[in-house]
């Protein structure tokens, strides 16, 4: 029996040690190997191309580091893993950056705002043609996502609120098959599902889309602020690689575009039509302009208020200003003592000035 207790206590000590080791790896330090997670989405396919074609490696080598871009199948899982400290960076939207890592106390910095949705997210009604007809319907959407935000903004535009409809939480993977069900009469979703449904169903009417709220759904590269502070090389290498691919896309390089199209499960024409509803910042100077514009703090204020109203700003958030945000040029929003989300133009500026 004594032996049993002895070995058990040894086991306990060993496991505790291992656990403390694994958590201490969360603490930032100067390091030379990094992992960034990404998921399939029209505006993020350039990352896949950059990784597969060795562009990321080339830039990483220039700064004497190693970067791995890891594709995660589930978008939310990717962000959750980043928030838990498994990845140094992650691709996500502005709203998810606020409500998942920032609300979870992980200080994050948006290094590149690569594009914003300009029609990639939309509201569909079955057989009805105007947004006002949505009243009283059940709306299938991924609850608490940018779709939910888009719906809230759409309802605002016709003087309705969420009380006038019922939201049905539906997984993004099931949207296309859900549309064929008789009970589904209204839906909010994003591409590629959105174009898949409108292309194959004559009863699907697009009554509102994100082009009506340009610049409010932003897709961006987010890096853990502490990691970034100790390793600015990571952001420099990634920014360099990103704009190298952007230059190719701007030229309309068919090979690169076809590669991205196939990797996202469509063809060149399909990918191009998705790009049409995405406002990509091909030039670094446009990305700088977007990051510095006074609209960004305004947008984030709206997003923060929406998130607070829906209780996704985290525990104990007494108001929408609970999480502080920092913008280029010293602008801030909310509680500066609890700044958890930062937008920076440092690296896109360097790219614009050719200093990378």
């Amino acid at each position: 029996m004594k032996h049993f207790f002895k070995s058990t206590s040894k086991f306990l000590v060993a496991t505790t040690l291992i656990m403390s080791l694994s958590t201490s790896s969360l603490m930032a330090e100067v390091k030379d190997k990094f992992q960034v997670s990404w998921t399939i989405y029209v505006g993020w396919m350039p990352w896949d191309y950059a990784q597969q074609k060795g562009i990321v490696d080339k830039w990483a080598k220039k700064y004497d580091i190693e970067i791995d871009l890891i594709q995660v199948n589930d978008y939310i899982e990717s962000i959750n893993q980043y928030s838990a400290g498994k990845f140094d960076g992650c691709l996500m939207t502005n709203m998810d950056a606020l409500t998942i890592p920032a609300a979870g106390g992980v200080d994050s910095t948006a290094v590149i705002m690569g594009d914003f949705s300009n029609g990639n997210d939309g509201i569909l009604l079955k057989d009805k043609k105007s947004l006002a007809d949505i009243k009283g319907q059940k709306v299938n959407l991924v609850e608490l996502s940018v779709s939910h935000y888009l719906l809230a903004r759409a309802l605002e535009s016709v003087n309705m609120s969420e009380k006038d409809i019922t939201v049905v939480n539906t997984s993004d993977a099931d949207m296309v098959s859900a549309w064929s069900s008789d009970e589904v009469t209204a839906m909010t979703t994003w591409n590629p599902q959105l174009s898949e449904i409108t292309a194959n169903n004559t009863n699907a009417n697009l009554v509102y889309d994100s082009s009506k709220i340009p610049g409010e759904i932003i897709d961006m590269l987010v890096i853990n602020t502490e990691t970034l502070k100790d390793n600015p090389k990571l952001a420099k290498a990634l920014t360099g690689a990103w704009f190298e691919v952007m230059a190719l896309m701007k030229k309309g390089d068919e090979k690169a575009l076809t590669f991205m199209a196939e990797a996202s499960g469509t063809d060149l024409a399909g990918y191009k039509s998705q790009l049409d509803s995405t406002m990509m910042f091909y030039d670094a100077s446009d990305a700088v302009k977007f990051a510095d514009s006074p609209d960004l703090p305004e947008t984030m204020k709206k997003v923060s208020e929406f998130s607070f109203d829906h209780g996704i700003l985290g525990e104990g958030a007494p108001n929408a200003e609970f999480i502080g945000m920092e913008f280029p040029g010293g602008k801030t929003f909310g509680d500066t003592k609890n700044t958890k989300l930062r937008f920076t133009d440092t690296y896109v500026k360097m790219a614009a000035e050719g200093k990378l």
Binding site: T23, A84, T99, G105, L144, V168, T170, D182, G316
Partner: protein, 274 residues
Amino acid sequence: MKRFMNLRPSRGATLFLGLLPFIIVAVFYLVASDMRLTENPNDKLLPSMASFSEAIDRMAFTPSKRTGEILFIGDTVSSLERLGLGVLISAVLAMLIGIPLGFIPFLRAGLSPFVAAFSMVPPMAVLPILFIVFGMGELAKVALIVIGVTPLLVRDMQQRVSEIPVEQLIKAQTLGGSSWTIVMRVVLPQVFPRLLDAVRITLGTAWIFLISAEAIAATEGLGYRIFLVRRYMSMDVILPYVAWITFLAFLFDFMLKKLTYKLFPWYTAGKEGS
């Protein structure tokens, strides 16, 4: 020399040993949670006990800001309705299909291979078809449970019926019983407690299908809530919900066991403690 295998723990020791794994897990959790929280007080992965109690208070005792209802109660009620209905329909179908299959050779020859093959279709893989057939409302969720659970119960029922000793059936026939009376007087009383046993075993499967159904499209339910807050990693809500589901499943199992023993005292003979 006394062998280790022959030592029996006392009552107190049994209780202690039974609790020990729970205590160890709890201690591990507290240590790991504490370590993560000292690094980042807002960490969501392993919440502290205080944030659990806050979350429970918010979910179970405070009306929701959006609807004015108590979310936890609403979730539990709608999940239990779906589960109860799904399991009940499955059990009735199992009796209606399983007993004839086991009892009538002609039916068995015709349907048994089909049922066996059908039971192997993973319902989750053909979800898009189920959407179109059953829609996306309450019916679809109950249907998913029924489709997942019924084939298992049917096959078990068929097996149990064919295990009834031939002597009994012959004796009943010499006493003048028709096929119908034999089903009602000999077969049914014997397989009914076995059906309850089979239901107990398939309850776990039923829960899996319930949670999956609620993850796909729902406005409330225990599985719905978990998949909703998973979006922003609210482990402080998810873990109490998981504990509650585990407790409910345990309670169901326990009550079914007691019910079986109460209704069929003969069935329990020699089966104590299973």
